[in-house]
Each structure stands twice: as C-alpha cells, then as structure tokens.
Assembly symmetry: C2
Homo-oligomer: 97 residues x 2
C-alpha cells in the first residue's frame, strides 16, 4: 500500500520521526521533549494530508495502534505520547537519540 | 447565538461540565481526574455534534479559547486540561467539587 511505503520511507529518512496532528496537545508535548533535548525531528502532520486515514491504518499495522503521536527513532517504533514523556523524565530518551 | 445558549444552558444544568472531543487524550485525562475523585460529570463530545465549530466559537467568547477540554464547575470556567491536572495534583480540584 502506498501509505505503508510512505511510512517506511519516512522513518528511514530521518533519525527522529513523529507522526502527529497539528491540533493535538499530546503530540505537542512529545515534540517539546525533543526540543528540550535540543535535537531536530521530522514531524508529519497527518491532518494536513489527504491520505491521513491510510497512514493511520499503516501505522496500526506497524505499531499496533492508529493513534497519534507515533514516535520512531532510527527507524524503530518507541511509543506514543505517554512513552515519550516517561522516557524523557527517566533519561532514557536522551540515551536513544 | 444558539450555540451560546446551548453552552449557558449546559453549564447551568450540571455541576461539572467538560466540553470535550472523543478522540482527545487531554480530555480523557481531565475526565480521569474527576473519576478518581469519584464524582460524576457531564461530558459534551463536540466532535459528535454538527454545531461543533459554533460551540467552540461560543466557548472562545466565554473562556478566551476554543480548545478542548474546557471545564466548568458550578457554572464557572476553571480551565483546560493543564489546569485540571494541576488542580487535581495540588488538591484544589477536590475542594471545588
Ligand atoms: N496512549 C497513547 C494515546 C494516544 C491517543 O489516544 N491519541 C489520540 C489523540 S490524543 C488519537 O490518536 N485519537 C484518534 C485519532 O486522532 O485518530 C499515547 O500515549 O500516545
Ligand atoms: N492548554 C490547553 C491546551 C488545549 C488544546 O490545545 N487542545 C487541543 C486538543 S488537545 C485543541 O483544542 N485543539 C483545537 C481543536 O481541537 O479544535 C489545555 O490545557 O486545555
Ligand atoms: S487531540 Fe487532545 S491530546 Fe491529542
């Protein structure tokens, strides 16, 4: 599926990829964790795409859920907003980036 | 405006009113604060309404922002998700309900 290709290409192309929606506070909080660590990331705003539902379906196949945020580091799925926040607090996120 | 009337009626009708969207984790977290305090509340899911935008406009006039969640206790606006979480943690929410 085109959306699966899109997701696979995206997570191969940038070290840190956040699948996000522009209006979502959980997504903003995840981004702020990386901002505080002073690292750059690719934020893919799904509500700005017309294949949003297909991309969320592809994310569900890859990660088990179609929710946002879905965060990948070096092509590996690390979790959603809750995981990123916890990892930021316990120092694990800093190790991963 | 009809939406302003709807909001005013809603916050007069129930002690605790949460203007929410079904998919929003910030809204879910606000509801969970009240669940933990074992109090009931009225949750108005704006994404299930066809006047969603009008209601958000009305909330902006009343509260200064059109975001969700918007939480009212006894007809008084107390804040969004961040405020409710902070008030829950510092005990202020328990006092208000
Ligand atoms: N436990 C998940 C919760 C994710 C979640 O429920 N995200 C919401 C937005 S806050 C969502 O994706 N809702 C469905 C949708 O927008 O399609 C996490 O920590 O990331
Ligand atoms: N600081 C606010 C943030 C609220 C916020 O940004 N809410 C988002 C959803 S998480 C929103 O309403 N976005 C615009 C929309 O859905 O219309 C709070 O604590 O409640
Ligand atoms: S839409 Fe509100 S936290 Fe994601």
């Amino acid at each position: 599926m085109a959306a699966t290709q899109f997701v696979n290409d995206a997570i191969a192309h940038d070290n840190i990829v956040i699948f996000s929606k522009t209006y979502c506070s959980y997504c903003r909080a995840a981004k702020e964790c990386f901002d505080k660590l002073k690292v750059s990331y690719k934020s893919i705003e799904l509500d700005n795409r017309n294949d949003m539902d297909d991309v969320q379906d592809a994310l569900e196949k890859l990660t088990g859920a179609r929710s946002v945020p879905r965060v990948f580091i070096n092509g590996v799925f690390i979790g959603g907003g809750t995981e990123v926040k916890n990892m930021f607090k316990n120092g694990k996120l800093k190790e991963l980036i």
